[in-house]
Every structure is written in C-alpha cells, then in structure tokens.
Symmetry: C2
C-alpha cells in the first residue's frame, strides 16, 4: 500500500451553483502535486453583496501551495468556470490548458488583465493527454450549452478519475460534439475510480431534451411574426444563437447581433472553426435602413441585466434601434433564480411599448444545458465508477446526487467547498477542512467576504447613517454643540421637527451631563453619543441607524 | 344624456401585483361620490427598498377628497387587499365593509393601530347590498385561496359593475363557497356595464385546478413519510392548512400550528364559522413529548422569510423543536418572484440537516388561487360585459387581458395606476391622470417613495460612504488637517496604505491650494472637497463613494 494518495478539494462550486474551482492532488500527504480544474466567478446581488462587481473563490490555500501547482485545466468557457483566471493567474502562475474555443475566450480574459496569451495552451481532445506532474489529463468532448465543453479524464498512479465539467446528454447538439456513449464506455472500460459529476439539474425528473428540439418551434414563431423580431439567449449558447439566426434567415430577415458578448462569442466560435454556416450578419448601423419586418436582432441580456442590449431596447433605444407595437421579443432562455425581477421589469417595459413578449413558460423555446436526474443515472451506469463525487450544485443537489449513487450500490461522498477528500482507498474519506470563502472584486480592489466592508454597506442600506461631529477645546470641554448629519433617514419623525434637531438637542444634553471622565475619553464619549443617537432615533423614527462619530480635539 | 358619470381610478394594483386600491365614483365631474375597493400593501426588498418595512399606496388624491368618500369595501383578507387599512383609516374616515372572516382579520389590523372595531361593518353576501351614496354594493361569493373572497356587485344609476376581486373558478374549494356559475349568470342577466377583473394568471394557458386536487397527493406523501413532517403554505390558505392537517391526522400524527399568522388565521376562520372540522391541535410545548414520527407541524414562512417558523427551523430550532435526518419538509406553495433566493437558502439549510425537502416542482402539492387564461375567458362569457377593465396585474398582464376581451369583440381598456377612466358612455375613455406612487412605512414613519431617503440608502450600499470633517478657525483658515472616516469601503487600495490616509493627504493638499474665495464659502468648499474625495477614491479603489462633508467654523 502506497503512502501516496489522491485528494479532491473543491474551493468553489460545491455547495453552490457557480464559481467552480476544484483542486486534485496526488502524492504523499501535504506534498501532493496539484492541478486545478476550472477557476470561475459568481455574480453579486443587492441582497447580499451590494456594490460588489464580481465574486471570486478564495484561493488562499492554493496560493500558499503554488509551488506544488502543476497546471490549470478549463473544461469550458462559461464565466463560472473560466471567469477568474485573469484575476488570479499572477498568484498561481501555472500553465492553463483548454480546447481551442475555450482558449480563445480565456486568452481574451488574460489579455484584459495584461497577461500573455501564451499562458493559455490549446489542447486537442482525447486521446491527446497533457502530463501535469503525476497526472495525465485528457479532454473528453461532452455536450453542453456552449461549444467544446469537455469532461476531463484524469489518470493518476492509483487509477482514473472522470471529472464531467458541465454537461448534458445531447446526441444532436447542433454545434459542438454530440454526447458519444461509446466513447464514454471506452474510457471507462478498465474501471473508473471516481466520477466527479455536475449536479445542478438532479431534481429534474425527465430525461433532458436536445438542443435540436427548439429549432422547429423557434422557426414557426419567427415565421409567423409580423414586425421586427428580437431574441435573446446566453451569447455563449452558440448553437442557440445559430438556431435563432437561421430561423430569421429562413423567414427572409437580416440578422443583426447586438451586445458585445454576442458578437464576441460568434467571433470566437467562427475563428476556432466550431461554428460554420452562420447566416450573414448585418452591422447595427445598417439595420435602420432595412424594413423592420425584414429584421431579426439577436441581443444580450436574457437575465434582464440593466446595461445589456435587451434592457436598453426595453427602455427605449439601442444603437439607433427602437421596438414598437407589433414587434416580438423572444426570451430563448430561462431566468436564473434571483434574476426574476429584472426580467419581469423588461417584460413590462416591452409591454408598455406594445411589444409582444414570448418566454419559455410554454417550454418550447429553451432547453437546459445540464443533465437531468435520469441522465445522471444513465451516465453513472455507463461509467460504473467506484465512487461518485457530486459537484457543481447546492447542498440539496449534492445530497440528492449522493443518494442516487448509493441507490445504485455505489459509494457517494457529499463534499462541499473546503472539504478535502482522500479518494485513494476503497471508501472516500474526509481528511481535512480548509477555510474557504469568497473574494469580492469591488471597484479595483479585492476584498474578503468577511472583511466587514459589505456588511457595513448592508447596514447603512437597512438602517441609514447618522454622522455626529463634536469639537472639544484644549480643556476637553465641548466647543459649541454636537452637529448631526443624516443620510438615508427620514427628515422628520414623531415630533414633526427635523430629526437632526431632535438628535442634536439630545446629544447636547448628553454632553452637558457628562463629566470629565467621559469627555476626556474618546471611546467612552463615542459610545455614549452613539447610544443616545440610536435611542433618540428609535423613539423619533422607529429605527436605530448606523452612527459614525467624529470627535475633534483642539489640543 | 346625464352629465353624471361613472369613474374608475386605480391607485394601486393596476400595473403591478399587490397593493390593491381601486376608486369608483359617480356624479358630476369632480363632484363624484366615491367608494374605495380594497386598501392593500406590497412588500419591500433589498433591491429597491432596503430598510423599508412595508409599502402602501399613495392615497393623497383620495385624502384630499375624503368628504366625498362614502365607504371602503374589502373583497378579501389578503395583505395586498386589506393590509393598509390600519395605516390609512384616520386619513380617510369612511366606514369599512367586509364579510365576517375578512372583517375579523381587518378588525385585528384596526385594533393594532388603535382604531375601534366598530369601524369595520360585517355584511352578509349577495343579495344583501350596502348603500353607499349613489352606489349599491353587494358581496358575491367567489372562490380564491382564502375563505370568503368576494366579487363586488356595484350598481350605479348608469348600470352594473362587477369587480371580481381575486378569484379562481373552483367548484370544490374545500373551505368557503364554490364558484357558482348560475349565480354569476343571474347577476349578469340584465346586462353588465363593466367587468373589472383580476389578471395575474392570464398567461397560464390551462384551466385552473381545484383546491380539491392536492389533497390526495398530500395525503400520499404524508402517509409515506417516516420521521417528522413539517409543511408550509400561506397561513391564509385555510383550505390548504386544513388539507394538510387532515392528511397528518389520517396518518396518525398530532398537528401543531407554528407561527403567529398560522394560529391567527385558523382562529379567525374558526371564530367566524368558515372553518369546521379542523383536526385537534396540540400546543407546541407539548410537541416535544410526542414521538417525531407521530408529529406534523404546519408552519409559516413559505416564502423563506427570515423570521418565520420555517426559516428558524432551517437554522436550527423553533419553540424547542428541531428537524433532523429522516424528517420531511413540504412546501405546499409556490415561490413568489423575488423570493427564490430566500426559499433556496432554507432548502439548503434543511438539506444540511438531512431533511428531505419536497416542493411543488412536480405540480402535485399546490394549486394557484387565481384564474388562468381560459378561466378568465369563461367568466367573460358568463358575464358578457360591455367593457372589460383588467386590474390586479403587471402591465403585461393587463395588456394581454385587454387583448382577450377584444378578441371576444368586447371593449377593453388598459388602465394603470393613476388613470381615471370614464365608464359612462359606450366606450371607456381616459379623463384624467392622477399622480400616484408609493408610500413607505419606515420604522414608525411614512415616507414618500420619491423623497430620496431610500435612494440615498441604495447609493451608500452601492458606493460606500466617506465622511470628511474640517474645522475652520475664526479667520476662515483650516484648523488642523481634514479628517476622514469611511464606512462600507475597503481599508486599502492601489497604494497599499490606508484609504483614509490617501484621502486626507489629497484633501489637505486641496485645502492648502485653495484661496479665501473657496475657504470662506461653505458650498464651494464642500463641492471641492467632495470632488477631490471622489476622484481620489476612484484612482485608489476604483469607485466613487457617497461623501458627507461637515465644515465646522469656530466663528
């Protein structure tokens, strides 16, 4: 029995959807050579992360061990798998491996952060493999809602791991390689130690539908539309964008791509040869000279993002184009939980313009990119792994996925971010708990999720902010009265006089009755002023604000 | 032709879901006698209304005309129809009419605001009517997800209006009166001028399902469950609560009601006789002595509300009860858009406890309380109104509902909040636009949505807050250096020294280079300091914070 071991350590994506980052290691304990699979982001929201621009995994553990990191492998080009590479590459420094389309997107990201394109190496799919320390890693094509998504065949001295990346079992994905059961059976035929597997759609009880099923429905819809047709989907869903464009083209419409991501993805897919036969595209500036019934716009913003093309069209105008009565807007997409209000907002704005909005509530115009419950079962049956390690899912998804594995008589392990699993023996065991978390990109700064910065913002948003300044003279006596300013608080409360007047009066009285022991001690003085301000606010306006005290001593 | 007219003026609920408040008037222009139908609330969120406790309609228009207000009629006891009566009654002063169950809930609300219970009059259903100035108003029973929901039969000298309130066409609603097509045909037989109609579910393309359909499914689920079963639904859905309780009871489980609203609703329904035969209930403090496999808890918090019983159970313990491995939690409810993240949060917390969570994704355990598209068409056919006025819906719902009416050869009018419609002639016409909006209950204060208070909170949340104090001596020269404090901003930025140090240095330089013209003028000084602080922050941390300047002059 070797003292070397295989470890699996999710730093992001396990216990959440998004922000994927999975570490694998092989070697003696604490000397394992490491590889990282994916390095993605997740997105902030007003509820929990106001003002934050982007959320990255906390990779402190890996940074401290960068000398042991052999390589980074990116399964596909979705933001939650590749979005953080530019932000972290300097701190990791390992070569990045990806297939052509993914690498094209990744290189743009690296360039935006001033890194050389050479840091991203293009690999061809399995059976080509890349040696990374004790690991040999191959990219096994897998269908998903973006071209060239790949599972990783990770060979270790103690056996083969299959890391699925995101996937669905689509034998007619239109763009990119179909799911190939024979290829999966072939890589699995000598035994697979562990299947590390996407879990997001485990609760969907029917087998997933193919990308090919939406084409005829979209074609019918676009064929029957009278005015201008505008459709949105994730720009990275190149197959869908193509389907939409072809439907427009067949209906005699000129195709216009709107939104930076939309143009960028089609360009990347064309450059790398994964997209062929995309209908001719008209630049936005020429669109206004084409009759609207002969136009189809493909736009960004399927999640109602305020700055995307869809939201700008909903508010009025984008690149000189306006929507109006008789036009149709199609959401060929699903709304990600949390984005409902933004999507509904633009639906209503379109309604006010007289635009007919069609969404996927009928189930006709969108299919998911992830494997449903029965598909996950099918893959398990093909691979027949010794161990199933569910990844990419919230706790409830991982748990259900473990149950699925156990129901088939396999070992399953529920590992969330920070749990280090030893996959070497016959039974997966938790060998360590690593402190993980989130890093916020906030303006140009990276801050830790637990630094308290965002907590303070939330508190100001919920409670308002009172600023109190007092000036103390050379003898530690108040010079004048305390001065109050408020932000985010009602002007008047119960007494029908300005809140700041009430506060200043109460604070002044507090100063008057405070002796030197308080007046000479900044901490005590601040504590007292804060208490008075909060109590006084509570009685006046029924809420306790955040309070900042500035004591200036003229000494 | 009379110079008197019928007017319809939504102050809330038209162009949104929630916050219902509809004015009807009859008389000479600007002298119409008025009635108000419903006076509801809507709920705040972190996105748009952080720190706000409750959102009420802006009833300024009605307050200014309170001498013309004859009465307030409440169709049913949901918060978005009755929630604002306590907040506004003093400003309106008219008698409130409601049926017994609704009145029971309404009176509690009035009492909470110190108003007499006598302000709420209990009426019996149609054919009883209440005279209110030129109006005669009757409550026509209608099925919905709360007992005793009623449409209003509003007779005017120029014809009959039917205001549906919220409804579904349920002939087996289990609690409360079934939909009675014959009664609707009967009130409509002499012609209905206008049908003012709920629109929320117009996009649902199948006929709605009856409340009776969920019982067998719930019974099967509860019957098969092993450990403790906990179920949540809207407490006001008394029929569902009864169905859940009966399923538990039949499975040999003792029923425990948890959460104030749950107990309150069952109490009100029992007191008013609308609920009969509810299984015996065990008080929470006795529950711990009952084996968990013999327990079923019915709890508040179907929307993931942080302080509700469900969320507290998910976090650990509520009233001494804990959930654990082998227990089942059932959401017999749908998630209202915007609440997804809160619901998902508690689902995952339950998953961490080992609790099996069942929701309505299967479509088995919940039915909607609102009429779907085909149901709305059916009601229109029964009533055969001259005019259809869609209400209670977002713009897109109202628009689709107008289309439905027009498709049947009827007149439809799209009236959103603030549009005053004259219903007198053969064609509805817009006769006025009233400024409407929202009123926020914030702590103990009511503030206008446009007062800027909440806008400032959002800005602090997004941008952080810098507080700058400067002291000017008797000669308008700076006494010491400017002083900075920050809240909600990273401690350090680009320069790797504290942000406040960078700001203080830059502000100090600004003070040094500013002449008397600036230093003596508070406005100019503040403007300059603010500009420097924002620019300096932008370069240091990549964001421009909110800035509060306090200039103290020792003069």
């Amino acid at each position: 029995m070797s003292s070397e071991r295989i470890i699996y350590l999710p730093l992001g994506g396990a216990g959440e959807i998004g922000m994927n980052a999975y570490v694998y290691g092989y070697g003696k304990p604490d000397q394992e050579r490491l590889i990282l699979v994916d390095l993605g982001v997740t997105f902030p929201d007003m509820d929990g992360t106001p003002g934050v621009d982007l959320i990255l995994p906390d990779i402190s553990w890996l940074k401290e061990r960068r000398d042991r990191l052999e390589a980074i492998f990116i399964t596909h080009a979705h933001e939650d798998h590749v979005g953080a590479i530019g932000h972290f590459w300097e701190q990791l420094g390992a070569p990045i491996y990806a297939r052509a389309f993914t690498a094209n997107i990744a290189r743009h990201k690296m360039a935006e952060h001033g890194h050389s394109e050479q840091t991203v190496k293009v690999v061809t799919p399995w059976p080509e493999t890349t040696q990374a320390g004790p690991f040999s890693v191959g990219f096994l094509p897998m269908s998903h809602s973006i071209p060239e998504s790949s599972a990783l065949v990770i060979d270790t001295p103690q056996g083969r791991l299959l890391h699925t990346g995101d996937f669905k079992l689509d034998e007619t994905p239109l763009v990119g390689e179909p799911f190939d059961p024979a290829a999966w059976a072939d890589v699995s035929k000598d035994g697979v130690k562990a299947l590390i597997c996407d879990s997001t759609n485990i609760f969907s009880q029917h087998a997933g539908r193919s990308e090919a099923t939406v084409g005829p429905e979209i074609e019918r819809l676009v064929g029957e539309a009278k005015g201008m047709v505008v459709a949105t989907t994730f720009a990275s869903n190149v197959a869908r964008v193509k389907t939409l464009a072809e439907a427009g083209s067949r209906a005699g419409r000129s195709i216009v791509l709107l939104g930076r991501a939309m143009r960028r993805m089609i360009e990347a897919a064309t450059e790398t040869g994964v997209l062929k036969g995309f209908p001719p595209v008209v630049p936005p500036e020429e669109a206004s000279s084409i009759p609207r019934e002969n136009l189809m716009l493909l736009v960004t913003g399927s999640q109602g993002e305020r700055r995307a093309a869809s939201a700008q069209l909903a508010r009025g105008k984008y690149q000189g184009l306006v929507m109006k009565e008789g036009d149709t807007f199609l959401f060929s997409s699903k709304t990600i939980p949390g984005n409902e209000k933004g999507v509904i907002r633009i639906m209503n704005q379109f309604s006010e313009l007289g635009v007919d909005v069609v969404d996927d509530s009928s189930g006709l115009y969108h299919v998911s990119g992830h494997a449903n419950g029965p598909d996950l079962a099918r893959l398990q049956d093909i691979v027949a792994p010794q161990i199933v390690v569910p990844m990419h899912g919230e706790h409830r998804h991982l748990r259900e996925h473990v149950k699925l594995a156990q129901g088939k008589g396999r070992k399953g392990v529920l590992a969330v971010n920070g749990m280090m699993i030893d996959l070497s023996g016959n039974t997966p065991t938790v060998v360590d708990y690593i402190e993980t978390g989130r890093t916020y990109v906030d303006g140009s700064v990276k801050i830790g999720a637990l630094d308290g910065v965002v907590r303070d913002r939330i508190r100001m948003a919920l409670n308002g902010h009172v600023i109190i300044t007092v000036i103390m003279d050379e003898n530690d006596k108040p010079l004048g009265e305390p001065w109050c300013e408020t932000m985010g608080l009602p002007e008047k409360g119960r007494s029908h006089v300005p809140l700041v007047d009430v506060l200043e009066e109460d604070l002044s009285q507090f100063m008057g009755r405070s002796g030197d022991k308080i007046l000479r001690d900044d901490d005590k003085l601040e504590e007292g002023l804060k208490r008075v301000a909060r109590q006084s606010s509570q009685s006046e306006i029924g809420k306790k604000p955040e309070v900042t005290i500035v004591v200036s001593r003229l000494s």
